[in-house]
């Protein structure tokens, strides 16, 4: 079985054993064919978030992708490539700092099974950076806070133990919730089934509650107040 790998200078083709995971194939190549092939890996069980790459243009965890033959494997997008499939994830991680996705003011709360369910999915996040790589906003705005950081922001604003949700909401107005195009690419690639698009939509609602507004809407020029119809319906 053949797979193609985007390396530093060119795309190279390798012959690997059939019906294995992509990660097992990468190890096979490194151990037996080319020790210089460079990639990232960890637990092999889809929980450490280390081995995300792009397969035929879609983000996948190498350890959870079964090869079928003739795939093109590439490094994640919008991450500086260090070597072959190995990327620098520090810049992406900085979005968590800018978002201030943590518990700001801890308070004791009555919590139930239902409260647990509110953020169960969001806290399954393994920080694999797949959503970051899939997000088209980065093509135009490298400072966008991005899907995983915003999902994490949502997780803390929803936590009943958070005594100052507004602090987080205030920090995600610039390059944040309003910059998302709601295209849903992040949701489509998440290996944990998380839906950042929905989380961002929810955060927009909370932002409005805290007195923020959609800057895109506010800066749109309508020329005159004439909307072409009477929004008050004649009253």
């Amino acid at each position: 079985m053949k797979i193609k790998i985007q390396r530093d200078k060119s795309i190279e083709e390798f012959e690997v054993s059939p019906s294995m995971t992509l990660l097992a194939a990468l190890y096979e190549i490194k151990e037996d064919q080319d020790a210089s092939l460079t990639f990232m890996a960890g637990c092999r069980a889809s929980v450490c978030g280390t081995c995300a790459v792009r397969v035929n243009g879609k983000e996948e965890l190498a350890c959870a992708y079964k090869i079928k033959g003739d795939e093109l494997v590439e490094p994640l997008q919008y991450h500086p490539v260090l070597r072959d499939l190995r990327v620098d994830k520090n810049r992406a991680k900085e979005t968590l700092v800018k978002t201030t996705a943590w518990l700001h003011e801890s308070k004791e709360a009555t919590l139930t099974h239902n409260d647990e369910k509110l953020t169960e999915k969001q806290t399954d996040c393994i920080l694999c950076d797949s959503c970051y790589s899939a997000c088209p906003v980065y093509a135009v705005n490298p400072d966008f806070l991005g899907p995983f950081a915003l999902t994490r922001a949502y997780r803390y604003t929803t936590d009943k133990r958070e005594g100052d949700a507004k602090a987080i909401i205030d920090n995600i107005q610039t390059n944040g919730v309003w910059d998302c195009t709601l295209c849903g690419e992040c949701t489509a690639v998440c290996p944990k089934g998380i839906d950042p698009k929905m989380d961002i939509t929810m955060l927009r609602g909370t932002s409005l509650q805290f007195g923020h507004s959609d800057p895109n809407f506010a800066t749109q020029s309508f020329g005159t107040p004439d909307f072409g119809f009477d929004p008050n319906g004649g009253f």
Partner: protein
Amino acid sequence: MIDVLIIGSGGAGLTAALAAKEAGASVLVVGKSYPTNSQTSMAQGGMNAALGNAGEDHIALHVQDTIKSAHGLCDEDMVRQMCADAPKTIEWLESIGVPFSRLDNDKAGVETVAQRQMGGASAKRACYAQDYTGLKILHTLYDTCLKEKIDFLDEHYFLNLIVKDGIAKGATFLDIRTGEVKQINAKSIIIATGGYASLYHGFTTNAYGSTGDGVAAVLRAGGAVSDMEFIQFHPTALKHSSILISESARGEGGHLLNSEGERFVDELKPRDEVARAIFKELSEDKEVFLDVRHLGEDKLMELLPQEVALCKLHEHIDPAKELIPIKPVAHYSMGGIDVDYALEVTGIKGCFAVGECSNAKVHGANRLGGNSLLEITAFGRFAGENAYKHSIYASTKPDEGRQLQKDRAHIKNIYTQKASVNFYTQREQLGKLFYEKVGIIRENSQLSKALDEVIAMQVLSNKIGIQDKSATNNTNLIDFLEFSNALLLAPTIISAAIARDESRGAHYKVDFKEENEDFRKHIVLQWKRES
């Protein structure tokens, strides 16, 4: 100079960092990957604390269960401290926002944390977050570290401790990205580098990188290691990939069958006993399967969705219709860096060790499920506080850099060494050798043979080296350094296993099937200092 240098960025390292910072220390956390990539993420079941949220429980019972599981080989004072610290550690985790699973009991705070039964526990004691307890604790710790502005140095591989006159002065690291060897000076050091179960390469649930880097570094620096022979094997890993199939598969009613379709062991016995029973079948050339077919597809998808997906992906079978081929594999190292009551490394002042890399003597001969997450958080805080205290009075005179020169020369030497033997093949050989001869069922003749083979491999080590000569981002080099550490630790495990002529917990010898009171002690190993 940094007050507290923390090596390793898993749950233990992050907890220690937060505690040291809170106490007033300047802190730097250095890791070979990124903080959330660590093994802590793989812990599923839970974290023990006698909260009594789901029925009566007491700290004394938790202590009792832990001592019983340790088969007399723990330090009861350390166990008492860990178990007594457990409720307040949960309270701390609750305060930073860990999303625990909850009970519906109209209460508030930690009293709402759900608790479940785990093997060897006399009460529902394990606090959990669905099946992602380790992952969710780890990520919350990381978020909190960002909040507290903890400094991180990612992708730096720990080479050696810098020790002068028995006192830790810093450590050397290989910057994986640039290939540069660096020295970091510190007043106190905490090693939190994880276990060494991936010596059993190909026969372990651990990531490839669990090669005991910190344990090996302590040995090289003149410190002591202990209880190295005690390695916990998990009964049910997938046959071909060694991917863990959670204990809950048996808890929910899964059966173990051999090739004849017979059940041969009570599936709910402790891990070491079930693992031995399976290993026995395998060594008689039978296959062993986990059978969950009778649970039905609907129930499987509801109870064990992750397990079903892993079986399909790695074994190409559908557990609702087919048997799951399994084998027991190395899962956790109980032994490690020998530490005292303050978690300070025996033989190296100002250097502390915590988590799976350390032997704080709380797990003894067999770790109780749910106690590892407890150890990394409860003792992680303790290590952070103690390291800070040491830093207050530590000398600020930096080391002159002899170790740095030595390590630079060593790395340079690796680049020039001709590699006529592929070390990846050796890595596989070592794993197989350990699984077969230093594994679940041991005997002295086999252990001696294993020691001979390991020594032969060490002799051969001047023929192994790296093929990739790139100066930067060289993971071939990192794999090689990891393998070198595994190879360095291998004889300590074998010789301790040879010395222990008895069976106790995870250490089982066919020639000596009973516990022997004379061996109710720790085997401590230290390299002789050249005079």
